[in-house]
């Protein structure tokens, strides 16, 4: 089973990019399964199932971070895709807190960014970008050539080894190189590992202590004038 995990901020066009990839792969008779991980609402699984008749599934992470949820369910997801006679599994996930990345060793990691989100976005998204294999830039028709170039340079600044693909997700132009890339991957190993290190995670707020103010908490605490900077990878 080949695996591609696609992350990116909300409404950047992750589903549109995957949709074009699925469409082209099905033309080559490569069967793809699609798993969507979201927090509380998603309908992409139903839309893609209707359009292509492929096996799709979604899971709501609810109180879990969607990237944690991905770690929990990915093994099951691969088994499910295999049972449905698929050669590839595409996982779409809403990376939210910008401290981890959902990619695993041995699978393709795609981050979808929209060119309209401002020139500083690449500096803000952390390991979701820097640990990806490819950054897919969408909505390129909405901004000037000049800003496209600056956006690209900013990506290269923080993630010099990440490939950059500008696509028009409306017409599906620029998608082909992504297909070549996903096909070049081997099947993922049975024992998969996250590509990046998760951030420090155990905190008293997560376990349900709701009082406001660091004085009420213990373990990982932070006062306003403590500007320790967490950079991710």
């Amino acid at each position: 089973m080949k695996l591609a995990i696609c992350a990116g901020p909300a409404t950047t066009g992750k589903t549109s990019v995957l949709r074009h990839m699925i469409k082209k792969l099905l033309k080559e008779n490569i069967m793809v399964a699609y798993l969507k991980i979201d927090v509380q609402y998603a309908e992409e699984d139903i839309l893609l199932q209707k359009e292509f008749g492929i096996p799709t599934k979604k899971i709501y992470s609810g109180e879990l971070c969607p990237d944690h949820c991905n770690v929990m369910v990915l093994g099951d997801g691969l088994k499910w895709a295999k049972k449905n006679n698929c050669e590839m599994l595409f996982v779409e996930t809403a990376g939210l807190c910008l401290r981890c990345s959902p990619y695993v060793d041995g699978g393709l990691g795609l981050v979808v960014l929209e060119a309209t989100s401002g020139m500083n976005l690449p500096l803000k998204v952390g390991p979701m970008l820097s640990l990806a294999d490819t950054a897919v830039v969408t909505k390129i028709d909405r901004i000037s050539q000049a800003e496209r170039e600056v956006f690209r340079a900013r990506i290269q600044e923080v993630a010099p080894n990440v490939k950059i693909r500008e696509v028009n997700a409306l017409h599906g132009i620029g998608i082909d190189p992504l297909l070549t890339q996903v096909k070049q991957f081997m099947d993922v190993p049975t024992n998969m590992f996250l590509r990046g290190n998760p951030p420090v995670g155990t905190c008293t707020i997560c376990v349900g202590k709701k009082e406001v103010g660091w004085q009420s908490h213990f373990g990982v605490v932070r006062a306003l004038d403590n500007q320790n900077f967490y950079r991710g990878e």
């Binding site: 309209t116 000049a146 800003e147 170039e149 600056v150 690209r152 950059i164 132009i173 190189p177």
Partner: protein, 261 residues
């Protein structure tokens, strides 16, 4: 080096074969695309900008120097030989004009040493096209429509040195059209205007007529039209003069009309 760009005809909206099968643009050409609203003018320049390869609804194909474009053109915008400037193209970054143009020049690294020269040249080009001068400290997002269009054209022409520039109905944004065409002619690029403006159409070398999603013909500006273009410019100047007077709060009187008619 880009020497030419070719459009290979596809299909019209009703599926029938596009009447014009091949159009070849050469360096130095100024062309217009004309046709009623909804006829497919914007679709045509979008096809060019996307390097359509029978993969858009029109089924057209675009060749550069007679061959399919190198994938590099699409992969890296710094190698893209085409800049598209539309009525809707805007700047989103909140930087001052000078800072942004400096960043953009630096990205084109081979010229990093001369950023100030390129900044001044780009600004002065833009300011010849627009009525209200752009200041180096103005924020990009605060520029007017005309200033934005002027700066986009100047950036594409001077900083990017893009060989092919597509301009979609820029006349509506209030830039000096004769001045624009005169300046652009000096740069020996391919300029393609989508336009409803007779002045731009007649100052072009030829015009591409679009109808129902297909290119129906290509008309080269003939001798009569060349001469007539001067009259059109005159008429247009009269209207601009009237517009200016109304803008600055003057009354239109017989006396002031006598001066310009």
């Amino acid at each position: 080096m880009v020497d030419s760009i070719t459009i290979l005809g596809g299909r019209g909206r009703d599926g029938s074969e596009e009447p014009v099968r091949v159009i070849n643009f050469k360096m130095g050409d100024i062309a217009s695309i004309v046709g009623p609203t909804g006829s497919g003018k914007t679709t045509l320049i979008n096809d060019i900008e996307l390097f359509a390869d029978a993969n858009t609804p029109s089924q057209r194909r675009i060749l550069i120097n007679g061959n399919p474009p190198s994938p590099e053109f699409r992969d890296n915008p710094a190698f893209n030989p085409i800049a598209l400037i539309t009525q809707h193209t805007t700047f989103l970054s909140d930087l001052p004009v000078g800072e942004f143009l400096t960043i953009h020049t630096k990205i084109r690294s081979e010229r990093a040493r001369n950023t100030d020269y390129f900044l001044q040249k780009t600004l002065s080009f833009a300011n010849q096209l627009t009525g209200e001068p752009i200041m180096v400290h103005s924020k990009m997002t605060e520029l007017s429509g005309g200033q934005t269009r002027a700066l986009l054209i100047a950036d594409a022409t001077i900083i990017c040195e893009t060989p092919i520039i597509l301009l979609d109905e820029v006349e509506n944004a209030g830039i000096h059209r004769n001045k624009a065409i005169e300046l652009l002619r000096e740069y020996k690029k391919i300029f393609i205007f989508v336009t409803h403006d007779p002045r731009i159409a007649l100052l072009s070398d030829y015009r591409i007529v679009v109808k129902e999603g297909a290119i129906s013909k290509v008309l080269f500006t003939d001798e009569y039209e060349h001469k007539f273009a001067q009259k059109v410019s005159k008429l247009d100047d009269i209207l601009s003069e009237l517009r200016n007077r109304i803008r600055v709060g003057e009354r239109i009187t017989n006396d002031c009309l006598a001066g310009i008619l």
